[in-house]
């Protein structure tokens, strides 16, 4: 194939690379690590990339956020606006609000950056939530990955706080109302509440002149630092433990099947970064978000209909609406109303989420380690509980929009709140039961509801070796898009055109990487007490896929 010229170019390139790598290795001794990094294998199921989406959102948040920080002024000094935006002309406002208005209207690319930052934050949290659901429903949090689950949940929590603190920085009417509610929630904590609120805000609401600076330090320094550090740990642990994978032919607890990091996976990942940037900047330029010039500067006497937080805090705002008018008073003290939905509920929810890996072990009496994922239907109880929690979350989120839903559907918010109050109990219960039944039915039926099963029939021959029958596995292997999965995109057309070569390669490959092959040296390994003996996995997975 290759010409003499190509060969010599390749040789020269290798020499140059060698010089660089020699230089590095002489100083760091890093060759072994670099080699294993370049050859590191990633199973690139599409749902594993959503965590990457979140990571790239974070990257974009840092880039746009630094740009914004160069113009933002966290000062609550009162100034009179005389700028290019006529409706605010002559109004008194804090310097913080003025700086955001100027950043939006007088700095070229400023509005784009601000909106892209806000959209990126919303998508960041959405990607984290999706990633968390993926990990939950597939059991990827199980031993040995409990620590990464904990770090991940901490990342979620800090991201929520980071998002809320950013929402509050412009000091507009919406963010001021949000801060007022949070002040009330902090103030409602028994015993220390008022003291804590006064300490954080530097005085009674709206706080001292130092408050915006504190918020700014928290938003642009402390939380990003924590996020970056925890994200680093999250990735390092992932790197060390290697990625989980769905069960399938040729996959065992001891091996990993996927493509190498270099070059294909790395390029794909960069492509993903580009697409995240495309969506974030596309929304940032074309769809308006948080038009603070319309909301006006914050004043305690003002308020606006449709006062809601960003979506990831919406469930708590909804819970504030759903919680009845109860508060408890005795012995001259009271536990105020906002404490229950504002502190107790998220406290319980996050405690449960943090503890989940250990709850899960108890529920399923499964203390063993796992590298292969559960299919959601195979753990009906976990799936049902997860769906119930999601329904509760959606119910609360809907409650935070009762005025808007009422306006749209011409239904009174009183009725909507009542429905959603009952719904927060009935919805999860019904949803959980339905999910549980559906899982059992799917287990029996075997067919995936939205796609044909992956893999083929695994048989064991007379010599005890395993073989995969059927075309599904072979179709599945190279690009991930089996010709039989109902998709016919452009690359598959190309794949068809090179069909002959491909078949040849497939045949080659099938011989070399037959199921037992990768796992060959580990046959004698045994688990000494786990619920799932490792050696039976192929048989198990074959059972799941016998339909194929």
């Amino acid at each position: 194939m290759s010409t003499a010229a190509e060969r010599s170019a390749s040789r020269k390139r290798a020499e140059r690379q060698e010089q660089v790598l020699d230089f590095v290795d002489d100083r760091l001794g890093s060759s072994r690590w670099i080699r294993s990094a370049l050859d590191k294998i990633f199973p690139d199921h599409w749902s594993f990339m959503v965590g990457e989406v979140a990571m790239y959102c974070f990257v974009l948040l840092l880039v746009t956020g630094v740009y914004l920080a160069l113009f933002y002024s966290p000062s609550s000094a009162v100034v009179t606006y005389h700028g290019s935006y006529a409706p605010l002309d002559g109004q008194k406002m804090t310097q913080a609000y003025e700086s955001v208005i100027n950043l939006s209207f007088n700095v070229r690319f400023g509005l784009l950056m601000r909106q892209a930052h806000h959209w990126a934050a919303n998508i960041f949290l959405a990607a984290i939530a999706f990633h968390m659901c993926r990990v939950f429903f597939t059991g990827a949090f199980r031993r040995p990955r409990e620590v990464n689950w904990i770090i991940g949940i901490t990342l979620l929590l800090i991201s929520m706080l980071e998002g809320f603190s950013g929402y509050s920085l412009p000091d507009d009417l919406l963010s001021g109302s949000g801060l007022r509610v949070v002040f009330s929630i902090v103030q409602s904590i028994p015993l220390i509440g008022p003291w804590l609120a006064f300490t954080v805000w530097g005085g009674p609401f709206p706080g001292s002149s130092a408050f915006l600076e504190r918020l700014f330090v928290i938003h642009e320094f402390i939380f990003p630092l924590l996020l970056a550090g925890l994200l680093g740990a999250h990735l390092a642990i992932l790197w060390h433990q290697k990625h989980t994978d769905f069960p399938g032919p040729g996959k065992t607890e001891k091996n990993i099947v996927g493509s190498r990091l270099w070059p294909q996976y790395a390029i794909k990942s960069q492509a993903l970064l580009m697409f995240v940037a495309m969506v974030v900047f596309g929304l940032g330029g074309l769809v308006q978000i948080n038009p603070i010039w319309i909301y006006g500067p914050f004043e305690a006497a003002r308020s606006s209909a449709g006062t809601q937080p960003d979506w990831y805090v919406g469930w708590l705002d909804g819970a504030m609406r759903l919680w009845p008018h109860w508060e408890f008073r005795s012995f001259g003290h009271e536990i105020a109303n906002p404490f229950f939905p504002g502190i107790l509920l998220p406290g319980l929810v996050f405690t449960a989420i943090y503890a989940w890996p250990w709850i899960d072990k108890r529920l399923f009496s499964d203390y063993g380690g796992h590298n292969l994922l559960d299919r959601p239907r195979d753990k009906p109880l976990r799936t049902a509980l997860g769906v119930a929690a999601l329904i509760f979350f959606v119910d609360c989120t809907l409650a935070s929009a009762t005025d808007l839903i009422g306006n749209g559907l011409q239904v009174s918010f009183e009725l909507l709140i009542e429905i959603l109050q009952y719904g927060s109990f009935i919805g999860p219960a019904v949803g959980g039961i339905v999910t549980y039944r559906a899982c059992l039915l799917l287990q029996r039926g075997g067919a995936h509801p939205i796609q044909r099963p992956v893999g083929g029939i695994i048989v064991r021959d007379a010599h005890g070796a395993y073989h995969t029958l059927g075309a599904a596995h072979e179709e599945h292997a190279p690009g991930g898009h089996g010709a039989d999965n109902g998709h016919s995109n452009a690359e598959e057309a190309v794949l068809e055109r090179v069909g002959a070569d491909r078949e040849e390669a497939e045949a080659d490959r099938a011989v070399r990487t037959g199921p037992g092959h990768g796992a060959e040296p580990v046959q004698e390994e045994r688990q000494s007490g786990g619920a799932e003996p490792a050696v039976d996995e192929q048989g198990d997975q074959g059972g799941h896929h016998r339909q194929g």
Binding site: V53, D89, I123, A127, L174, G406, E414
Partner: protein
Amino acid sequence: MSQAPVPVARWRRPFEAIRRRALGGPLALIGVAVALFAVLSWAGPAQAGTPVRWTVPVSTKPADIKAGNVLFDLHCSSCHGMGAVGASAPALLSVGPAAVDFFVSTGRMPLNSPKAQPVRHRPYFSPKQIAQIVAYVNAVDVAHGTPGPGIPAVVAACKKQGPECPTLSEGDQLFLLNCAQCHDASGSGGMLSNGYVIPSLRAATATQIAEAVRVGPRPMPNFGPGQFTDQQVAAIADYVHWLSTAPDRGGLGIAHFGPVPEGFVAIIFGLGILLVVSRLIGNRG
């Protein structure tokens, strides 16, 4: 500048033209000063008395009143009673032209049933017919001795910027303190108790906004002259009109309902597109 204290004349075309020329030469300036003095001495007492300037005159021609009477008897009297004395719906003996013009021009009236919630529709009557009905009800009110608030003139009456002309900024401040709590800071509406829908202001004309402020179409409260001057009402109407016509600087407005639709777009379109992309980049597994 000698013009500063005499903005009364600003909205009158002839004086505008003179003023423009006046800037050209001192001779003309003196002429204008004399003319303005005359106008001032004429307009001064009028301003101090009834709000001539900020109210749109209502026809008192007998022909209009008669035509309005016919329309009223046909379309309104079944609920409001013959002669507007009230029946299943309230009497209209002191409502004034602003209320009639507001309810009819926004299509809220005529209403099929007096129990229904009046909401914005395409107007049932032509502008001319509306003017006739207004003239009729006004005549009834005047005859009853209780004329209600007139149709407020809005900022269009004020052709030039000046100290007397309301500014967008003034309207913005008043709107945020007095209106935004119900109608949303972006004027897109909301929800009141007992199932009353707070309408969006984006379809309303400036005149209708000003009328609603003065009249207080229930369940909305009213804002009388003790709270807002006529100029302030005009400022609010002007700002709301600006709010619904000014282009969105940031792109698509997505219903102007704030963080809820934003979150929806972020999840459905933002994350949705990225999931599809991930699906195309990654393997199905």
